[in-house]
């Protein structure tokens, strides 16, 4: 049995219903909300501001700090609030995904704090977080070379699908886990990849197909981000 039809009836390259908005946190210098189906991420940016304690300052370029957090009510069973091993990992990879596009060399001695909170989770939370953070950084007026868009590509049995849901992540074939999930973040202009992780198995011959699917999906997400940013007044 192979995966011929998606569980929620989407086409293989179709994204979930996506919406975005900026300026949702009045106290922050920049903020954005990004919803991808049932996954909702909210990002708030504070700064550029003075970095204290002073010994952490970098006189050559600014510092970008990312805090990713899943709220306790974001999943079916309540998760323990606070920092976990998983959230620390995602904070760090998000930081790496965002650093190449921010022109930190123009902001020496400062810090930019990015807080990502997941209001509701249904797979692809780190991607939604990166999408929201990119928009929030643009709203905060941080100089940036380009934007970044992220999407989770999946392999169900033998088929490549875009924007997987939790249900698909747990897909099984003959009683064995047959789903692979590959979050990819791609820059908008140079199409460089700033995040790529792999959870599961993927044959090398499939990598090209995955990249092609990611490029297509990231383009679509980029259009949504740009539209939301331009609606700002």
């Amino acid at each position: 049995m192979s995966y011929t039809k998606r569980i929620d009836g989407r086409k293989f390259d179709e994204l979930r219903e996506t919406s975005a908005k900026i300026g949702v946190v009045p106290n922050a210098d920049g903020s954005a909300i990004f919803a991808q189906g049932d996954t909702i991420a909210i990002a708030a940016v504070y700064g550029p501001k003075i970095l204290n304690p002073k010994h952490q300052q970098n006189p050559e370029k600014g510092v970008l700090r990312v805090h990713y957090n899943m709220l306790s009510f974001s999943v079916g069973e309540r998760i323990r609030p606070g920092v976990s091993r998983r959230s620390q990992e995602i904070s760090r990879v998000t930081e790496w995904a965002l650093t190449p596009l921010v022109m930190l060399e123009e902001l020496p001695g400062t810090v930019i704090d990015v807080h990502i909170n997941i209001l509701q989770a249904n797979a692809g939370t780190r991607c939604a977080g990166i999408n929201a953070a990119a928009m929030a950084l643009a709203h905060a007026g941080v100089p940036m070379k380009e934007l970044v868009s992220a999407v989770a590509i999946g392999q169900m049995g033998d088929t490549i699908v875009s924007d997987v849901t939790k249900e698909e992540e747990d897909y099984e074939e003959d009683g064995e886990k047959a789903a692979t999930d590959i979050p990819i973040a791609m820059l908008s202009n140079s199409e460089k990849i700033t995040l790529m992780q792999l959870d599961g198995k993927l044959p090398t011959r499939k990598v090209k197909e995955v990249m092609e699917a990611a490029r297509e999906a990231c383009k679509k997400i980029h259009d949504i981000q740009v539209k939301a940013l331009k609606e700002y007044s």
Partner: protein
């Protein structure tokens, strides 16, 4: 329709650009908040494009205040150090007011009585370094002072040009309508000083109205109507 209003209308139509968007080709020079990428010029901030002759620049719409030489700002004294005062001007860097830039002779022991910690001051930026901002309190018309009373209002610093208006037209309108004295800091802090507290509250309401409606055309007329409505309600 005069030339000026036509110019304004064209300005209102200008499109918002996002970071990484191509805004001009080879025949332009990159100005503020733009950069060259290959042959094209791209924007590096969320803002509005302004092209003049051969120069293209982006006017930012949001974000923290970036200190510029000559700006009059309102700041809060944070610390007293040996050679001057540390002042928070709501920018990315702490500003410094040296002792020598204070009018008159000040004894080191008396520094606290001149500007104490927590005092608000109207001050001018006279030097912007790589990671530092220097302030000055020296002015001919004595407009740079310590704030003793009145109302302080914080607005988005990118809306300050609209609050002031063309050659100060908007701020003069508000001043005359409320009989108050208003000092607008480029960092978004506004000091309103009136005879009565009611006048200050009125001025605050009008300024907030201006800030919320910056994109709309014919703002001056709208503000005039808004002031009329306020007076009728009384």
């Amino acid at each position: 329709m005069t030339e000026k209003t036509q110019e304004l209308k064209q300005k209102d139509k200008r499109e918002i650009v996002v970071p990484g968007e191509i805004i001009a080709g080879e025949d332009f020079l990159p100005g503020d908040w733009t950069m060259k990428q290959g042959k094209d010029i791209i924007s590096t901030r969320l803002g509005i494009v302004e092209k003049s002759d051969k120069l293209v620049k982006v006017i930012p719409l949001s974000g923290v205040y970036i200190p510029r030489y000559g700006n009059v700002v309102i700041g809060e004294v944070k610390d007293i150090v040996s050679a001057g005062w540390q002042v928070d001007i709501k920018g990315p860097y702490q500003a410094f007011l040296p002792l020598r830039e204070c009018p008159g002779f000040v004894e080191t022991a008396e520094m606290e009585s001149v500007y104490g910690i927590g005092d608000l001051i109207v001050t001018k930026i006279f030097n912007v370094g790589r990671t530092s901002v220097d302030l000055s309190m020296k002015s001919r018309d004595r407009s740079l002072t310590k704030i003793r009373d009145g109302t302080i209002l914080a607005v988005n610093p990118h809306r300050v040009p609209r609050v002031i208006g063309k050659e100060g037209s908007m701020i003069t309108l508000i001043k005359n309508a409320t009989k108050t004295n208003i000092t607008v800091g480029q960092n978004g802090l506004i000091w309103i000083k009136g005879e009565k507290i009611e006048d200050e509250i009125k001025a605050e309401k009008i300024i907030n109205f201006v800030v919320e409606n910056t994109i709309t055309e014919g703002l001056t007329e709208k503000v005039e109507n808004y002031i009329k409505d306020m007076e009728e309600k009384k």
